[in-house]
């Protein structure tokens, strides 16, 4: 269908457009200069953004479904009935796949990056991504504890390492290189962890620092659109900000066309103190470093008060959380490659640590000055559901709203965090960057039609029922909250998929994946190299390991040519 969005107040930061009243034309799923529209959407007095992009969420795959099976109680809420050909579903922090897609779409999000795909179980991740309607998905393949990676890093064999990464991305149909507690999850195979980036991984004679730097180098050599995407060591431990700073410094010299490292859910990595008793915010130190350097992007990992489910490949961390909470605990080690842990959690506003955590996320969102470097996330569902993004936006835009929340939570937030002293407020342009254009650029997807509204871009568009000229976000934060919860309408690939919260059309989303160039002889060489070890160590055959084309019925393959 040919569409015209008329008189909208358009924000398109990647093309330097900020609040301009203009028309947008859509034909064949793309944005065009102009066309004869079959249908006109009147957007006067409404905010027009590119479709939202979630750079880091756990929405599909083995650990998400382990979480669902662990928590039937989470599915007693968030119940949606089957209606008019739209599927039913359940769940709040770990919703079933169908409603996951509907909820993102209602909120104006059209692309979501699944943050952790274990290669051995990559088919599972893909099966679920295909079951999530409307939104485009991509999955980050886990590398940080892979035996082959550690061995090649130890040998400083970067040629083979780049071939291996390329081969694995192709084999798993992955989008990028993810590291989770590098080395620590391998040690968890023996019930242990690593305590610093310089401690050796048991039996592998390699350190987390070496793994991080090597993968960053190889990632850039392969010219992948996204940088390495890292969940640092020591997540959630008091005093871990030093590990975070050290890890960021490891790749300081690698600045290329884009960042050389995406630091994910940074909130969980910005803690001072030695014990939970004196745990405090170190967001200032972290923000200072990122403000001074150009090689880091990050997402917030904002904590939301209430019940949620934590899930990560960081097995040892989840077990230590389980020992703290004593509720219930699932774990899933994946041979040769990675692990996973899941526990339910309740972030209480009466709890000192949780209140400080809440503050740190927002501190990072405000103190990291350049919105192109810090993006909105809850590390869904770890800090809270993605459904709370509108709350985060309203806090970022209104000091008054933050103050109001601060007054209602544990007062450690005033002594051990600094949010109360920050008066900065984000504007609509910043928010547009932090929720779509910034993630698009950090992911490299802006080159493939995401995160902007220029001619040729994918027609993924969110229209919100709010007029930036008519509202004072600082004073009227409730209006902001309301506007960002449900779009006036959401357009995905040129189709109107949601209007005022009602799903109109359940189109299939695409699977975005990267296929780095690898000469045939390199491909064969790396396959040969791992073949024997594969046979010895894995419990599936190499020929049954890949994600076959059948699992990606709707691919958006990004071929990367290396000159």
């Amino acid at each position: 269908m040919r569409l015209q969005i008329k008189n909208g107040v358009v924000f398109d930061p990647l093309n330097g457009i900020s609040g301009e009243v203009m028309d947008i034309f859509i034909e064949d799923g793309k944005i065009v200069e102009e066309c004869k529209a079959e249908r006109i959407i009147d957007a006067s007095g409404k905010l027009v953004f590119p479709g939202g992009i979630d750079i880091h969420a756990h929405v599909a795959g083995p650990k998400v479904t382990s979480g669902r099976i662990l928590r039937p109680e989470d599915h007693r809420i968030g119940v949606e009935k089957r209606w008019n050909g739209i599927h039913s579903g359940t769940g709040f922090s770990i919703p079933s796949t169908r409603v996951t897609g509907y909820r993102y779409a209602r909120m104006g999000y059209t692309t979501v990056i699944e943050a952790a795909m274990p290669p051995l179980e990559a088919k599972h991740t893909h099966e679920e991504m295909v079951s999530i309607p409307i939104i485009d998905n991509a999955a980050l393949t886990l590398f940080g504890n892979n035996w082959n990676v550690m061995e090649l890093v130890r040998n400083e064999d970067y040629d083979s390492l780049s071939s291996f990464i390329a081969w694995m991305l192709r084999t798993t149909k992955g989008f990028g290189v993810k590291l989770v507690n590098p080395g620590g999850v391998e040690n968890w195979g023996w019930g242990k962890d690593v305590d610093s980036i310089h401690s050796k991984v048991l039996h592998f004679d390699v350190t987390p620092a070496e793994i991080i730097r090597s993968l960053a180098i190889v990632n850039d050599r392969l010219k992948l659109p996204h940088s390495i995407h890292i969940h640092f060591n020591n997540l959630g431990h008091p005093g871990n900000y030093e590990t975070t700073l050290e890890s960021m410094k490891l790749v300081e010299d690698l600045k290329g066309e884009r960042q050389s490292m995406h630091a994910t859910h940074l909130q969980f990595h910005s803690y001072g103190g030695e014990k939970w008793k004196d745990m405090c915010s170190k967001s200032e130190e972290i923000a200072k470093y990122i403000n001074k350097h150009e090689h880091i992007t990050a997402d917030m990992g904002q904590v939301i008060f209430g019940d949620t489910t934590t899930m990560t490949s960081d097995g040892p961390m989840e077990f230590s959380l389980y020992k703290l909470s004593g509720r219930k605990w699932s774990n899933h080690d994946v041979e040769i490659e990675t692990g996973a842990g899941i526990i339910p959690v309740f972030y209480s506003s009466k709890n000192a640590v949780n209140s400080i955590q809440w503050a740190i996320g927002l501190e990072l969102g405000l103190l990291i000055e350049d919105p192109w470097k810090i993006f909105v996330s809850t590390d869904h569902p770890n800090g809270g559901s993605f459904l709370f993004y509108p709350y985060i936006i309203s806090w970022l835009m209104s000091e008054k709203r933050r103050k109001r929340t601060i007054s209602r939570i544990h007062q450690a937030v005033n002594s051990r965090a600094i949010l109360g002293s920050i008066d900065k407020e984000r504007d609509f342009n910043d928010i547009c960057i932090m929720t779509r254009s910034g993630p698009a650029r950090a992911l490299g997807l802006h080159k493939y039609g995401k995160g902007h509204l220029g001619v040729g871009a994918d027609a993924d568009i969110a229209i919100y029922d709010i007029d930036p000229k008519d509202v004072d976000p600082s004073e009227e934060s409730n209006k902001i909250l309301k506007a960002f919860r449900l779009t006036h309408c959401t357009i995905k690939g040129g189709e109107i998929v949601s209007r005022g919260g009602e799903i109109l059309s359940s189109v299939d989303g695409k699977t975005i994946w990267c296929n780095p160039y690898l000469r045939n002889d390199e491909f064969e060489k790396i396959r040969k190299r791992i073949e024997r070890k594969f046979y010895l160590n894995y419990t599936v055959s190499l020929s049954n390991y890949p994600v076959f084309d059948a699992y990606v019925p709707n691919p958006m393959e990004i071929r990367i040519e290396v000159s």
Binding site: I69, L70, P72, H203, S543
Partner: protein, 431 residues
């Protein structure tokens, strides 16, 4: 002649994927590497239905696929409460459509989980699941425990491929570096080859696990001289062995899920493994029976939020095991039709269910005649998954593996049959 290697065995939850099959003129000449169960599954197709059938006046009459599918759609679209049961011997692709069909018609969908590891799932809901993929066990474990299961009979290659006998990266000497414990009420074949067999009185597993947990937590003094038929000193020794293992792996079967205590037994076993993780590395894995029973739990959980026993009569997924599970729904006489794919409930459910089955229309989709055929009003023969049709299955440790196809057939695949039924029912409901 064509040699197919790395074929996936569609029998049990081991999903061994190293089978070699020789095929000539579309016939299987030889099968290598498979166990007795897998061999017979792949080769023994002594009885097949020739075509779809509809029962008229008590006699089965051959009809076309189209007629059978229309008849099924007619039954489903005019019923108020259908149970869609089975799904453990089919692919995830077919399961997914089955779930959507249940949603479309407001029925109940359940799979064989409810009568095998259903109690394990209930326990996981309560306390969690400290699991692992099997390769982690192969490469690291030096203590293997089988409790209430007899893999040599039910999962014959489990020990040789995954746990006890293979060489692993950190266990280059294979079984010499491992210690095998079997705990059971009788001395099974697996018990006979164990380093240590511990015989438990029937229905006493819960007490034995409790004793182990108490000893582990330093309360040896409160344990009587014998628990569930096991002398105290054996329990103390076992706890020592568990604590000092570098990597321990506990596998459990229906001996725990089906006996007195049911899900409480599993809950206790899981807590034991969680407790052990405070001392060393320990994992737990249910010995899932059918080759894709695990797959159903996963597909159902991601599609609906719940792993089995889902009732769509409210228009959204509702789950209450014990109420929305197959045996319960059948015993209550709630149903006006039963749809079966990839299972044989008449051979596995208590006799009281048979009577109920005889009173309602029963639809059966399966490659082979089985006990349920006796009650079926429409029978649709399908291709054998993993031999004549491909698709996804999940191993007992949740590792997805794609079943291969190496024999051509005119039988429709489960996925294709489900697709056609869904479309026809949707058309009827709209019209």
């Amino acid at each position: 002649m064509t040699l197919h290697t790395d074929v996936v065995c569609p029998f049990c939850g081991c999903l061994c994927d190293d089978i070699a099959v020789e095929v000539e003129n579309n016939e299987i000449i030889e099968v290598k590497n498979a166990c007795e169960l897998g061999y017979s599954k792949i080769v023994n197709h002594l009885e097949r239905y020739r075509s779809p059938m509809i029962r008229e006046n008590g006699k089965l009459k051959e009809v076309s696929y189209d007629d059978a599918i229309e008849k099924i759609a007619e039954i489903l679209s005019s019923s108020k409460r259908v149970l869609y049961y089975g799904w453990s011997n089919t692919t995830c692709e077919a399961q997914k459509i089955g779930i959507h069909l249940a949603e479309l018609t407001g029925g109940v969908i359940d799979n064989t989980t409810s009568v095998c590891h259903g109690p394990s799932v209930l326990a996981i809901h309560n306390v969690g699941y400290p699991g692992t993929t099997l390769g982690q066990v192969k490469n690291r474990a030096n203590l293997i425990i089988y409790w209430g299961c007899n893999p040599l009979a039910a999962h014959p290659r489990h020990l040789s491929r995954y746990t006890t006998y293979p060489r692993g990266f950190f266990r280059q000497k294979g079984y010499e570096q491992r210690y095998l414990v079997v705990i059971d009420v009788r001395e099974t074949d697996t018990a006979k080859i164990a380093n240590k067999f511990i015989k438990v009185r029937p229905n006493s597993d819960y007490a034995v696990i409790n004793a182990l947990r108490a000893i582990l937590r330093g309360h040896e003094d409160v344990i009587p001289p014998e628990v569930g038929g096991v002398p105290k000193e054996e329990l103390v020794k076992l706890v020592e062995r568990m604590k000092s293992a570098e990597f321990g792996a506990l596998f459990f079967g229906l001996g725990l899920t089906m006996s007195r205590g049911r899900y409480k037994n599993i809950e206790n076993a899981i807590k034991l493994v969680e407790d052990l993780n405070r001392y060393t590395k320990f994992t737990l894995t249910p010995m899932r029976g059918h080759y894709n029973v695990t797959g159903f739990n996963l597909v159902c959980a991601w599609e609906t939020g719940y792993p089995y026993g889902v009732d769509f009569s409210k228009g959204y997924p509702w789950y209450n095991p014990g109420e929305t599970t197959a045996v319960d729904v059948l015993l209550r006489g709630d149903l006006d039709a039963l749809f079966v794919m990839g299972s044989d409930p008449a051979a596995n459910f208590p006799k009281e269910v048979l009577k109920k089955m005889s009173e309602i229309p029963v639809i059966l989709i399966d490659p082979f005649p089985n006990v349920t055929s006796s009650f079926a009003d429409v029978i649709v023969p399908s291709a054998i998954n993993g031999v004549e049709a491909e698709g996804t299955a999940y191993r007992m440790d949740s590792v997805p593996i794609r079943l291969r196809k190496f024999i051509e057939t005119d039988f429709l695949s489960d996925e294709e049959i489900m697709k056609r039924i869904y479309e026809s029912v949707e058309r009827r409901l709209k019209g």
